[in-house]
């Protein structure tokens, strides 16, 4: 393999001559981290033993199949069972070992303080994490290529079609990639031994469930062959959207792992936001495909919106917990013109940009089901709703979202100023929990006490509660067709909610403006000179010359 041949080429290089420089040159095109990790993986005992075991197991399964059904080998459809067995076997290295290696590799980087050495180089943190992930996936590919003859043999035995045979390695590879991305994030969380242990245990439990899931799916679809014939044309689009959602979630995990490794002074936010947009886009695809599949069930898009709102709230808490003061490194890269600042406000790192980003994305997210239902809104029998029905609930949801997140942001800023300047994501999450429970649990409890006696106050309290409000709207919407006016957009309580939002925005405004319109740091004088010098580089003295 690459690793071995490069190794021989370069060990001969240090004795003075180089034969296979071409392969070595070719490896220049690869991510340096990938090359290093592949060399490491190829030499690691864990990998060598797994490799050997997979070889032995696939031979053993193949030979076993021959022995078991030798006389009737041409007439039995033993292939299906063999593919299922091989798939179940491969779950162990692919779902446990490969993500486990990824976790360890990330965690070791911090423990051995090699990560610092990497940050000294011109490699970016994202390149580093990506290189690691790629090398891990290469390891998974090698393991599959070892098991491939077993699959081919199983196919030749018959009883299974080629699509099913191929779906096993492809599916498992996908699960492996997703699990490894999550493992990368888990590995980057580790700061000390206690955290490492807790995170590792959580990861093992998670991987165990993933393995169970894989075994169940292989058992149901391959072994028992229970997949209905026309499933692809029925929900194929939804399956693809779901896979894209999962994949973009995995990519978000990798980005978060890289961001976690970056110092807070650099811009570790913009690319995470881009990934968040991917996830949002994929989520919208899921909403769109489902709304399309179930045009008469208005709850479907609303259900999904509720889930995605929860996800966005967590993401929003993360983004809002970014630093309020932008570092000099970041400020130097901000656009100078205020108009461009406004235009790219959602990309500007820091708490202010984070808030704008989350609120804007949530608006886009809410608009999507409207668009889908509007496009799908063909008059005809059975179609019971129109996009207009959705406007009210989505708008109200957005108002609550922005208000609650704004409150979280205000409280976090307050905590930072008064008590704990270093407050980060965990503090923000805690504040979010407090705010949510104050707005829902406490008001809910008070509601029960107050409602019988003071109906007006009760209405005000229920106004506070986002979920209570949501349930109210949801019931109203799903019980039948509604016209725009009957949806509680202009409901008497919507006005106070909007006023609350306005108030939260006004309170947030000073720090938002400060964050978004921070002065750019002056360009260091040397940079201009350097750029000039770069055009005509001076001859550098040879450091190794005697």
């Amino acid at each position: 393999m690459t690793a071995n041949s490069t190794s021989t080429s370069a060990s001969s290089s240090q004795s003075g001559k180089l034969d296979s420089t071409r392969l070595d040159d070719w490896s220049d095109w690869l991510n340096p981290m990938l090359v290093k990790e592949m060399r490491q993986v190829a030499k690691s005992h864990v990998f060598q033993w797994t490799f050997l075991l997979v070889v032995v197991a696939s031979w053993f399964l193949g030979l076993g199949a021959i022995v078991v059904c030798y006389p009737a080998i041409r007439y039995q459809s033993f292939g299906r069972s063999l593919v299922a067995l091989l798939g179940c076997l491969m779950v162990i290295p692919l779902v446990f070992l490969v993500p486990g290696t990824m976790f360890r590799s990330m965690e070791l980087e911090r423990r051995e303080a090699t990560f610092e050495l990497l940050s000294l180089t011109t490699l970016s943190t994202r390149q580093i994490v990506r290189g690691k992930l790629l090398s891990i996936l290469a390891m998974a590919l090698v393991l599959w290529s070892v098991a491939a003859p077993g699959l081919v043999f199983a196919y030749l035995l018959g009883g299974i079609d080629i699509v099913e045979v191929v779906s096993v390695p492809v599916g498992l590879f996908f699960v492996c990639a997703v699990a490894s991305s999550v493992a990368a994030l888990a590995g980057s969380l580790a700061r000390n031994a206690v955290v490492v242990t807790i995170v590792a245990l959580a990861l093992i439990v998670g991987l165990f469930f993933a393995a169970m899931f894989c075994w169940a799916v292989i058992g149901e679809t391959i072994w028992d062959s229970r997949l209905p014939a026309g499933w692809w044309s029925d929900i194929g689009d939804f399956a693809i959207a779901l896979a894209v959602l999962i994949a973009s979630g995995a990519s978000l995990c990798v980005s978060l792992a890289a961001a976690r490794w970056m110092p807070p002074e650099v811009d570790r936010s913009s690319f995470v936001r881009t990934r968040l947009l991917w996830v949002a886009g994929a989520a919208m695809m899921v909403v769109a495909t489902l709304s399309y599949r179930f045009p008469n069930e208005i709850e479907v898009p609303l259900d999904l919106i509720v889930w995605f709102t929860c996800g966005w709230f967590v993401a929003g808490t993360l983004l809002v917990s970014e630093r309020t003061e932008l570092s000099r490194r970041i400020r130097r890269r901000l656009p100078a013109s205020p108009w461009r600042r406004i235009l790219v406000a959602w990309r500007i790192p820091g708490s202010a940009g984070g808030y704008v980003f989350t609120v804007a994305s949530m608006a886009a997210l809410s608009a999507t089901p409207l668009l889908v239902t509007w496009l799908h809104d063909k008059p005809g029998p059975g179609v019971v709703h129109s996009p207009a029905v959705l406007v009210g609930p989505l708008l109200i949801n957005w108002i609550y979202f922005s208000t609650y997140l704004g409150v979280v942001r205000l409280m976090l800023l307050f905590v930072r100023r008064r008590f704990f300047p270093q407050a980060g994501f965990l503090t923000a999450l805690l504040i979010a929990l407090v705010v949510l429970s104050a707005g829902t649990l406490i008001s809910g409890l008070l509601l029960i006490v107050v409602a019988p006696f003071q109906p007006t106050e009760a209405r005000l309290l229920s106004l506070l509660s986002w979920p209570a409000r949501w349930v109210e709207i949801y019931e109203a919407v799903s019980s039948g067709p509604f016209l725009l006016t009957s949806v509680p957009v202009f409901h008497d309580l919507t006005l106070p909610a909007t006023i609350a939002l306005a108030l939260v925005w006004i309170l947030n405004l000073p720090s938002l403006v400060r964050g978004l319109f921070a002065e750019t740091s002056p360009l260091p004088q040397a940079v201009a000179q350097a750029e000039e010098a770069e055009r005509a580089p001076p001859p550098t003295p040879d450091p190794f010359a005697d």
């Binding site: 290093k36 060399r39 180089t121 000099r328 000179q529 350097a530």
Partner: protein, 315 residues
């Protein structure tokens, strides 16, 4: 380089909570010079070096390498600075040459350029004999060499070495000194910190002394000595009557402090070294009937300078 000093630090400050690790430090190092960076434990040496290596960002102040700001322009600074930290990170299953090869790639060296850099670094730092050994199996001395090699792989014009001699045997230290001197002769600016001051005194062109994050002194050793309270120390061993010898010396010279240990006497005089003619003193001493076994003026070492400049407060 581009008309800027190779390494300069202006009013550099770094706080960790209430700890002022670095507190308004200013100094420069020119190309081809070796600056010894000394100070007691926790003085802020490592923090300053990490800021220069772009690993840390200062609370305020500026740090420039070849005119590029380590704060604002870390990418450019990384290309011209080589940093050897006080720890050595290893990867399992990675051989020495693979280690260097990886870092060469990470610094953007490609093809023949990369292979040359790896080969020459292996030879230059003298680790070609263990090139195929896994990094984990290296001895301390070999690790330090490899670590230096890593810092040199992209041919930086500024080298920052954090306690490079820690844990080395005398021969390895001499070897390291030779390497550092050689690198400076090639025109690199070198900032080197060490606790072993005898280590540095032979090779450094200037010293930078900090304590509790504050700069105590910076400049060529001779200049610093000038700024200090000038004094000179005479050491002698007599065969008999040490009390008499001390009394005689106190009469003859302006003695500030005497230390006696059996026949061994150490006198610190208020006069500067240049003002005391030790040959005259010895002749007079012998003339007065004292049997002198050994006599000499002790050269003020970096260690003395250090002890004189710093107060030994730990933070």
């Amino acid at each position: 380089m581009n008309g800027f000093p190779a390494l300069s630090v202006e009013n550099l400050t770094r706080h960790f909570g209430s700890t002022r690790a670095v507190d308004g430090v200013t100094f420069t190092v020119e190309s081809g010079r070796i600056a010894g960076f000394i100070g007691p434990n926790g003085a802020g040496k490592t923090t300053t070096m990490r800021i220069l290596a772009t690993l840390e960002v200062p609370t305020s102040g500026e740090a420039h390498i070849c005119g590029f700001s380590a704060v604002d322009d870390p990418e450019r600074v990384r290309q011209v600075v080589g940093f050897m930290p006080d720890h050595f990170g290893v990867y399992p299953y990675v051989a020495c040459w693979e280690y260097l090869d990886f870092f060469a790639r990470a610094y953007g060296l490609r093809g023949a350029e990369r292979r040359d850099a790896v080969e020459r670094t292996l030879a230059y730092t003298g680790i070609d004999s263990v090139a195929d050994k896994p990094t984990r199996a290296l001895s301390k001395g070999m690790r330090q060499r490899l670590s230096l090699g890593r810092a040199l792989i992209h041919d930086p014009s500024v080298l920052i070495l954090d306690e490079p001699a820690a844990g080395l045997d005398p021969r390895a230290r001499i070897e390291l000194r030779r390497l550092i001197r050689d690198l400076a002769d090639q025109g690199k600016a070198i900032l080197v910190s060490s606790h072993i001051l005898t280590e540095l005194s032979d090779i450094v062109d200037e010293v930078i002394v900090i304590e509790q994050g504050r700069l105590v002194a910076a400049g060529p050793m001779a200049d610093i000595r000038q700024q200090l309270d000038r004094s000179c120390t005479i050491e002698l061993v007599v065969a008999e009557n040490p009390e008499g010898a001390v009394a005689w010396l106190q009469e003859r010279l302006e003695v500030r402090h005497v230390e006696r240990n059996g026949m061994k006497i150490q006198v610190v005089c208020a006069e500067a070294e240049e003002e005391v003619d030790e040959a005259d003193v010895l002749v007079e001493l012998v003339g007065a009937g004292f049997r002198v076994r050994r006599f000499g003026v002790r050269q003020e070492t970096l260690e003395d300078l250090f002890l004189e400049l710093t107060e030994g407060k730990l933070q």
